[in-house]
Homo-oligomer: 230 residues x 2
């Protein structure tokens, strides 16, 4: 027994409190998120789960935002990037990857919302970016356009997932959305002629259909829009 490694407690006592570590904290955070949603992943809640005080976590994590980014990076591991070598149309495969990303975000309440601001920089996030860039490259999109386009694609996917998922779990958000739908329907044709003309079409369509169209439209735009117009 050396003094660096304190004597293990007798087996009889309840499970030894494991030493804190970045990995352990993130794993616990993911667990709490799966069970209770991201809004419950707080420094205090995590400290409680790890049987310590919140101050102890600050040795490993700088702040709550960093913690949320770490969770996102971790869960991004579940995104299906598709087979490494080509099979099928690159557009379809691009849509599939983005669809998988959206579904992962959608699966966990609050995750999409956090993805809107968090900037992970781990291997799972980089892998996703790489996969999208490879597909755009395969489609012959010029590099300069692909570089900026990948951001837009992730942005619309994330924003759509956030919007949809907040509406699904939050009654207040649903009410707000219903108010908007109502407002759009009852609008005066004199003041808002185009809204009145388009009517229900403004909020029509199943989320998946809308999102599929959005992906196609953005890809087409990225493809057709040079970076230095003259």
């Amino acid at each position: 027994m050396n003094s660096r490694n304190p004597a293990p407690r007798s087996r009889r006592e309840r499970p030894a409190k494991p030493a804190l570590s970045y990995e352990g904290i993130v794993a616990t955070a993911v667990g709490v998120m799966r069970a209770e949603g991201l809004q419950r992943v707080t420094m205090r809640r995590l400290a409680q789960e790890l049987d310590t005080g919140p101050a102890s976590l600050y040795v490993y994590v700088a702040n709550t935002a960093e913690l949320h980014a770490a969770i996102l990076e971790e869960l991004l591991g579940a995104v299906d990037l598709g087979p490494v070598s080509a099979a099928g149309d690159w557009r379809d495969r691009l849509a599939a990857v983005l669809g998988s990303y959206t579904r992962v975000l959608f699966e966990y309440p609050g995750l999409a919302h956090s993805a809107l601001v968090a900037r992970p920089s781990g291997p799972n996030y980089l892998g996703l970016v790489e996969a999208l860039l490879a597909l755009l490259h395969e489609g012959g999109i010029p590099d300069a356009q692909a570089a900026w386009g990948v951001d837009v694609l992730l942005q619309v996917a994330t924003a759509t997932a956030a919007e949809q998922s907040v509406r699904d779990r939050d009654i207040a958000a649903e009410d707000e959305h219903d108010a908007l739908v109502d407002a759009l329907r009852q609008v005066s044709a004199e003041t808002y002629p185009r809204i009145a003309a388009l009517g229900a079409d403004l909020v029509s369509g199943a989320p998946e259909q809308r999102l599929a169209w959005i992906f196609r439209a953005v890809v087409n735009g990225v493809q057709a829009t040079p970076r230095q117009p003259d």
Copy 2:
């Protein structure tokens, strides 16, 4: 003096506490936001400002999200929708309206972030949607595409403003971004060939340039992408 209208206090006393009202609450909220940012617009802070307890506000406002949506709707009044009758290319005018929207969001810390989830349905928001639809109509974009496209345009504008504005005021967010930039630069060319090939271009460009390109690309995509492909 009637009993419905309690006797006014003598002029000598400090300014009479004005009666609460939805408008008064929203106006105070906008004031606090201008002075201290949206993160300070809390039920408790507002109650303090209005010289009452937080519970009193719940007579007029259902929850904090509704309050934030009301602030957004109010500040959207500052968006420049351009002249009513045509002058200049519709694409340029569309970009100008979206640019003005982005600048308004950007002006107030936290506002863009709230716009990502809030769904206002007041006249200022409707006016913005109407203006964008009118310009897309003028450009000959089919109604079905314009109806869904306007959402995408507002989404990318909002998400870009949120990203940029969070980075400008939040040191932690800036660190996170720097970590990402570093990670992108130092990536292994074997594991992430496309990221390595594109390198700095992934994060290049002034925000305005990027955003201007994004608007052009999305408009082009919306224009070129029919809703029912076969």
